[in-house]
Symmetry: C2
Subunit: 168 residues, 2 copies
């Protein structure tokens, strides 16, 4: 397969993969494009290669920078800004875990606390089912939170070593 064709397919696949995960398609495509580029790209490069508008590129690049998945780079002698993506996939995974935890899990934990106390007889089956469900979800989420924290802090070697051994 030709390099350009393979790149194109990868960008498309990564885009649809991302959109399963609440990340918009274009954002994932730009990320994919930068992941497989051997040199930094300008906004114009991205516009051209993905055939999308300047505004769209700008907004999604900003979002990627916000996630710390992409960095602006200065190229001497160039007026334009250029962009590169973090290439270490373990680091990428840790960044995504960290961001999603912050944006989703932590608010959920806060919310669960806020509804854990309901009026009424604790022996009432309806009340009991509800409070037990919430308690279990809270326990689970706290555990997930801790586990994810450890993963975020861990490096690849820890992962491949300890965890892989554990999961033989």
């Amino acid at each position: 397969m030709k390099l350009d064709e393979a790149k194109k397919q990868f960008v498309a696949a990564w885009g649809s993969f991302g959109s399963n995960w609440g990340i918009n398609r274009t954002m994932a495509q730009i990320h994919a494009l930068l992941l497989v580029s051997h040199e930094p790209l300008s906004a114009d490069d991205v516009m051209e290669q993905l055939a999308i508008s300047r505004g769209n590129v700008n907004m999604n690049l900003r979002e990627l920078i916000d996630w710390t998945l992409v960095d602006r780079v200065i190229i001497t002698g160039e007026r334009k800004e250029f962009f590169t993506a973090e290439k270490d996939i373990w680091k990428v995974a840790r960044i995504i875990v960290k961001e999603r935890k912050k944006r989703e899990l932590e608010p959920m934990l806060k919310f669960l606390d806020s509804i854990s106390e309901v009026d009424g007889d604790k022996n009432d089956k309806a009340v009991k089912t509800f409070t037990e469900a919430i308690e279990n979800i809270k326990k689970f989420s706290l555990q997930a939170d801790k586990t994810l924290d450890t993963i975020i802090k861990a490096d690849e070697n820890w992962f491949v070593g300890t965890l892989l051994k554990l999961f033989k």
Copy 2:
């Protein structure tokens, strides 16, 4: 807080949580409603409590059953079908992991295999960057696949025991 109010808030929260994860909001809301119900609900109950149409309820319940998150139950003397959700949150998590792995990770792995060989000089920086990126993503995905398999097979005790200890 009153039980009904707490339930309503939980359903709304679970719905928006779900939609971050590529699960449609209504599907997540129906799941939430069943999670905190002490008795099975009929399609009419769901329609009424969530104020949504019959068709919508039907389609999303079918999807939930397909995911094995919800079961049909027969109530003697009743003509209608009723529905309950799996209440064990660890089991729920394992089901979701399993389904998403099947629907997303496995196709991605297949795809990565299909583009790993590109024409051209292996010393060409562009080719090298691409093949290395794909190889790394493949390695990562294979590792994730294995790890998730172990999690799917594990039970809660294993989780809380071994994994929690590991993650002190």
